[in-house]
């Protein structure tokens, strides 16, 4: 029983890491831009496909050694982020002042389009690229064997969370971005190019979504439209944790990931229902989530 619980816990932790990368990006965009970005799910999907394509081309059928998988999955996320440079100025910028329904429909339309573009490029079949997953072998902890790749996921998630914290709280960029979120006109009069900051924050957000996909890619079955599941789960994460809060995204992903894993392992009948129930209860007790504030500024 203990070993079962322990392995469920570790699996939950791995899933939480993916969920954290995904929802911290969603929360970042919501916190600064005020848009709940439905297209986030498709950037996750793009991240998965891009890292699959990169690894297949350069490692499995190319000259690079298998170790280069690890930098490559990170590069894939950054590549997807480049799309954000076009999406934010062309589409998103026009709806910042519109009502929520309009913003949601726009980003949902974007999600449908990007998902179908994936379908056109990579087809409808299910892919699997587990080489990286097997390459690290397994690690034994407390009589239970775990794939070594899980450790890589946990480690990189931790490192990326640290990176985001440094960017937002320890650099001039982060300080300026927070100042813009607090009082846009004031900062603009100081000569800051605030539209550029909105673009960069959006790019940062979707890079994290893509990392959530690209890093966990080797353990997933890959198919078009796979981003919808993490999208809906991350809605739960950010409502539990609090809209627009970094700490909230961390705690929320942890709660949802662990409960999901234990639910699947022990109570498969009601796993997802429990998560929705928790979300509803938390929203009813604390509508702004566990760590959310009334006014949404990080």
């Amino acid at each position: 029983m203990e070993t079962l619980l322990f392995s469920l816990f570790i699996n939950g932790l791995v899933f939480s890491s993916m969920l954290f990368l995904f929802s911290v990006g969603l929360n970042l965009i919501f916190g600064y831009l005020g848009v709940l970005n439905m297209a986030h799910g498709s950037f996750y999907t793009l991240g998965v496909y891009t890292s699959m394509a990169l690894i297949t081309m350069t490692v499995l059928k190319g000259p690079l050694p298998i170790v280069s998988i690890f930098p490559l999955v990170l590069v894939a996320g950054v590549v997807v982020g480049l799309f954000g440079l076009a999406v934010e100025p062309i589409l998103l910028r026009r709806v910042y002042k519109s009502e929520h329904a309009v913003q949601l429909l726009l980003t949902y339309g974007l999600l449908l389009v990007i998902d179908d573009v994936c379908k056109i490029i990579w087809g409808l079949e299910l892919y699997n690229v587990p080489e990286a997953y097997y390459f690290l072998g397994s690690v034994r902890v407390l009589d239970t064997a775990f794939p070594g790749y899980n450790l890589f996921i946990l480690f990189s998630c931790f490192a990326l969370a640290l990176l985001l914290w440094i960017i937002l709280y320890k650099t001039m960029f982060g300080r300026t971005a927070r100042a813009i979120a607090e009082h846009r006109e004031m900062v603009s009069t100081l000569g800051v190019n605030s539209p550029l900051f909105f673009t960069l924050i959006f790019v940062l957000g979707i890079v994290f979504a893509a990392w959530g996909g690209s890093i966990t890619m080797p353990m997933l079955g890959i198919f078009p439209g796979m981003g919808l599941d993490p999208l809906i789960l991350s809605f739960i994460v950010i409502t539990i944790g609090g809209l627009g809060s970094l700490k909230g995204a961390l705690i929320g992903s942890f709660v949802v990931g662990i409960i999901r894993s234990i639910g699947i392992g022990l109570f498969p009948e009601i796993d997802i229902a429990i998560i929705y129930l928790i979300m509803a209860v938390i929203l009813l007790i604390r509508p702004s989530g566990l760590f959310g504030r009334k006014e949404i500024v990080w």
């Binding site: 709940l36 726009l106 339309g109 999600l111 056109i120 929705y276 929203l283």
Partner: protein, 335 residues
Amino acid sequence: MVIKIGPSVLRARLPILMIIIILLFIVPLVAPSYQIFLLSYGLLLAITALGYNILFGQTGLLSFGHAAFFGLGAYAPAFLTHYAGIRSLEVWIISSIIFATLVAAVIGYLCVRYTKIYFGLLTLAFSMLFYALLYKFYWVTRGDDGLYVPIPSILGFSIPLSKSAYISGPLYYIIIVTSLVLFAFGWVIYNSPFGKTLQAIRENSARIEFLGIPVKRYKWYAFTLSGFFGGIAGCLFGILNGHVNPMALHWIFSGEIVFMCVLGGHRVFLGPIIGAILFTYLKTYAITLTVYWQIILGSSLIALVLLFPGGIMGWAERLMRKRSQGERKSLDVHT
């Protein structure tokens, strides 16, 4: 901005209305059964969207969970057939209404305390809770496989027709009559003092509160009413489709309902009806045209939101207002 559509407008458009109604009634004589199925489906979605728009377009509350009431309305006949052996249309409709309206009343009571995005997320959570329960309790609901809905009897008489004959015959007329009655009901709500109060709450809820009107209770009424519309549409959808599964409660369907309202124009009474029917055809033809139908649907959604944020009816109305202003200007010149 308040859009004025009073009884005089109705009287002016009465001939067009009568022609459309007569056309709707003679459709089964000429159209193939697949077209009738599609039109029926469009009308049921129109009922759903019209009900949802009481909440969304009129009161200004964006719910992500409206599919729940449609889906629960559709599951009621399936449960009655499988667990009570009841196959009567009257009992089905009444129990769908009671079921969906009661659930809407309870969820609405909990949700209307919140505004903006929190309201949306809370309704999303509740609808997905029902989705997850129906999906997971396989031994009761048969999960993903869904439940079969047979042809019901009407007033105790069973109907010895094939499914396609039933759809293009009795069921079509039931759906036409139901939707006309509910559209009229929706129109009465839209123009009643109650509807005007909802629209005033959308514009400025703080002021309405100061007038002594219990804003939350009005929002709750709007929520319950929208569930009532969804329940009836869901019940008839179950019969039309012959089969229900949990996807009828999924948030993607909730999102499509929002899409229908914005497509037609959620600030105009006719908007959701036109949006729903158009959406049905758009989606069906996009699916038959290509496997990449999502790209068609998605790019039309983006174009709609960026170019016609007021929807089709909002756009048409602006066009008409511009024309009437032009006429007035030319009159001014003559005098």
